[in-house]
Symmetry: C2
Subunit: 337 residues, 2 copies
């Protein structure tokens, strides 16, 4: 008789309220895989968009969730450097492939769709995707890192080439990725300018070390203020639209713009500042295994992720409603007892 | 009494017909400068735009012209590695500065505006801006290279990172820069796909080694054809607008787009392929001294520029009308007797 476990599953798209806590058979570690006993998971907008049916080729039912941390419960056939009982954090980028520049479109996918994810007591993942949890982090903190930390790391370092002493403009601080970008930027000795529509988030960002915090809603001339506080070496943005247009305006000659999303869809940009200022725009999403390892390394050196709120696994739907409200600052986490 | 010389000067903006052949005092080589006895000059769209008043801060009267080749006539005070009589080609990018990533906005300017340019018998330029003419090239060929060759070199190599065996899509072949891009790409062992609205230009491009040539006007589905002939590693474009949008569609995951102009102004791009395919868009204009030296090196290895037509200096206005017609393939050159 197969053991059962609790899992938060999506049976039909319709937003967070469509999530159900099911009892399903425990997964097993296949060849080249490990089974992880999860102690914490974390939410990303990707999970929310999946419940809303905003991803192509959604397969259901599915256990959602990309981020997780726990202990190795079992090891499948094949080589694995760790052992049962090891505390690990999971890299949710599956099948990236061999090219550090871009994932392999034939194999790349993200944990939690179509493959069953981390909002469960157990998850089976490729053994290459588990990494030792940084010792000084709690399980909740470790689970908060993977997807957003990886995206942030690749955006500002691998793609954005941020260096000590440079200035980075982070638009929309408060979101999971943007908050990691702020943490990494300050940890790397860069100057950080942040924008948000919420004064409360701007205060939180200042407490985390933001050097200049501007409310773009109440300050329509924010781009002018940024320019006079510049030069801005790097802009990191995921909103697109008008923001990308302004980014080209404020970035210094020879500067860079890293785009890790574009929830506003199209963007109309001026070409003159692009070529005349020799600007580089780098699109980026998730990250390679090399990015993940280098990113985790930062958390072995005293850095800690910012947690917004911790829910229980059973309250995953409520946690996702909270994420959808866009009021959070930092990561929304699920504790899995 | 100062010697006089002929020079093609702009006294008022109003297109090529505003150019006048004047007799003006010969320039002298100031400190750190050399005086070049010009034997040939070449036209660029920049010169045309200047006669049309399409550049900011136009100073008049001015001797137009960025491209030139000739012999060293005199050497001003300061160190210079060459000698009187040396055959040289001029790098028209003045005051680039020390940063290979971008010019110094405080000092950068291009020969021919505001500084008197090459449509004259003599020109004085900084001695750092003259390079030995590649021996196997004629004066007309050497004069055809500088501005367009430099722009092309930086676009595909320094910024576009084109490598042997890769595929490059060159939009609008036939123009000065695009034709150099085709030459460099084939010389570097890359595969070249070209587009144009002229079947005649496409035939010429094929004769120069283009592997696939598509008329984008008569073939509305050109992007689809390019995609199926791909993968396209690099797109090089200066038209912007709809072309940039399609470039994001056809470029391979992890691919690059180099933009060296944007005559169509704004471009509306989709953000999803930008970040999901990890595309890099690099703006570029002119090039650094390192780019110029590396570019010239290519012409010491058997490469020759494509000349469209040679006019006399006195016929500069007619030559520029010819450039404005957009019928040319390769460079329009002025012989200076």
């Amino acid at each position: 008789m197969t053991a059962e476990m609790e899992a938060v599953r999506l049976h039909e798209t319709g937003g967070p309220q469509s999530l159900r806590v099911d009892r399903i058979p425990m997964p097993a570690a296949g060849e080249g895989e490990v089974l992880v006993r999860l102690r914490a998971a974390a939410l990303n907008h990707r999970d929310l968009f999946i419940t809303q049916g905003l991803y192509p080729n959604i397969r259901m039912p599915v256990t959602v969730g990309a981020d997780g941390a726990g202990e190795i419960e079992a090891v499948g056939a094949g080589s694995f450097e760790g052992a049962v009982g090891d505390e690990v954090v999971i890299d949710p980028m599956l099948g990236w492939g061999d090219d550090p520049r871009v994932w392999d479109t034939a194999t790349a996918n993200i944990l939690g769709m179509p493959r069953d994810g981390t909002f469960a007591r157990y998850v089976a993942v490729p053994s290459a995707n588990v990494y030792r949890k940084p010792e000084q982090l709690s399980m909740e903190e470790a689970a908060a890192i993977p997807l957003a930390g990886l995206t942030a790391y690749r955006a500002i370092f691998t793609r954005g080439a941020l260096a000590r002493g440079e200035t980075v403009l982070i638009t929309g601080v408060g979101g999971g990725v943007a908050t990691f970008i702020l943490l990494f930027a300050k940890h790397a000795g860069a100057r950080a300018i942040v924008t948000s529509s919420s004064d409360e988030k701007l205060e939180r960002a200042k407490a985390l070390g933001a050097d200049l915090a501007i409310n773009y809603k109440t300050t329509p001339e924010w781009a002018k203020i940024v320019r006079s506080a510049g030069p801005v070496d790097l802009v990191v943005d995921s909103s697109g639209g008008e923001t990308l247009r302004k980014a080209l305006d404020v970035v210094r000659p020879g500067g860079r713009i890293a785009i890790y999303g574009g929830t506003n869809g199209d963007a109309t940009i001026k070409l003159f500042p692009l070529f005349w200022k020799h600007v580089t725009i780098s699109g980026t999403s998730m990250g390679s295994p090399q990015d993940f390892a280098a990113m985790l390394e930062r958390f072995s050196k005293g850095l800690r992720p910012v947690l917004d709120r911790v829910f229980s696994l059973q309250d995953a739907a409520a946690a996702m409603q909270h994420l959808a409200s866009a009021d959070q600052f930092g990561k929304v986490v699920l504790r899995i007892d």
